[in-house]
Symmetry: C2
Subunit: 251 residues, 2 copies
């Protein structure tokens, strides 16, 4: 479980709050939700500027990487039990230092360029699959918007964050092979077309309905319930639920 | 390409050489080779002690993570063009700090416990697939042995390094699905039984000969040559070579 450290401490003298964190390190979270047949991405906006980034944070001196990522998720979505997977570390020189300093200068009149935050920061990338309906996007003093966008139509992101999203999508595609994949994106009971749409959104291509259904049922991890979804224009489709949880829900 | 920074600088006052590196960060390399039908692991030994670890190193202030990992590989094996893949960051509290200090005390009479190297170090894990025949294991002033062991029968490793090896094997298994996988472990021309043995060693279980051959040929990326391997006791087997290079050789 993440520790109960409050998140909004990043105020006052910059060098003082920076001292609470492991220098040169951050976590960035690629948060996916599923809504209206679309895969959505959670992005945050720098106050007063048209600058968007992934939600992220630094790593407390006594905090594991996972705890730091869970803390970002908990703060940004209100969710505690989130399917979170580390997928890659990003350590390219120049990935954010110059632009980061420019942004900080919009909030602090004078920023010491020798602070670690303006030198190299290596960021550990996590992706999260959350239930869109339950997430409550939340701003903080460092963001005046925290919002969902379609993953194929979000504002361009600062730093190397667009590249980080691309790597997260690739990792997510690879993870689709596991029975139960995508469970965290759907409500507890779902229809086969909804599950198919999740796979299609992640893969970025349409799938054949019959083959998809057969493959899902053959590989197990999903069971058909006695109930059907009522109220649609079409014949009421069966409801399904996952019987396995590869997503590690229960963190 | 890795930069030409000499590797063996870690001598003299400890705080001085630590200043060359990004604090609290390291790379650890899980180096796999294939020889005599076995998957081998390259491990190094602390001088004068029965303490074994993965080859690793710190990250230069102006060095990317990949460069740091390539530098370790180049130093430890003499190889420049190595298939190297980042697979996970390890940031658990207590993963090495206390034991690390104990080890350093065997070389320095007095070590400042406030140095970053004895606080938390987050390590970025890379695995490498190298041609066993071409690698030249090399020691340095911080190791009196650098040697291959069967991956299932190596000395227990210090810190969390046994766990890192386990994660690397898992990542390697997942990567076997890609046509051409394992190319870097084999010589340029190989027999189908040799390729099968590589897959078996990585998966840790025997595979059916006919199915394996069919699957390899069906998925492409490997071609049969006109020549056969001569000199064995059995009927001379055909030689094959890869026509794709998923392993990113040519770094």
């Amino acid at each position: 479980m993440p520790r109960g450290r409050p998140r909004v401490l990043l105020d006052g003298p910059i060098d003082k709050w920076l001292d609470q964190f492991l220098p040169h390190l951050s976590v960035d979270c690629v948060v996916f939700g599923f809504h209206g047949g679309d895969l959505k991405l959670l992005v945050v906006k720098w106050p007063g500027l048209d600058v968007w980034t992934l939600p992220g944070g630094y790593v407390g001196l006594e905090q594991s990487l996972e705890e730091a990522a869970h803390q970002v998720l908990r703060f940004r979505t209100g969710l505690r039990h989130v399917h979170l997977r580390q997928f890659q570390a990003f350590g390219r020189l120049g990935r954010k230092e110059a632009f980061g300093r420019k942004l900080f200068l919009t909030r602090y009149s004078d920023v010491d360029p020798d602070l670690w935050v303006f030198k190299r920061v290596v960021s550990i990338g996590y992706y999260a699959l959350v239930d869109f309906q339950k997430a409550r996007p939340t701003t903080d003093p460092w963001s005046d918007s925290c919002a969902w966008y379609p993953v194929d139509a979000h504002p361009p992101l600062a730093y190397d964050h667009d590249g980080i999203v691309g790597c997260a999508r690739e990792a997510l595609r690879a993870a689709l092979d596991v029975p139960g994949a995508g469970a965290s994106l759907l409500p507890e009971r779902f229809t086969m077309p909804e599950l198919q749409r999740v796979h299609e959104a992640i893969l970025g291509r349409p799938l054949d309905r019959r083959n998809f259904q057969k493959r899902m049922l053959d590989r197990g991890g999903v069971e058909r319930l006695a109930e059907r979804r009522r109220g649609g224009a079409h014949r009421a489709p069966f409801l399904y639920r996952f019987t396995v949880s590869p997503d590690g829900v229960g963190f």
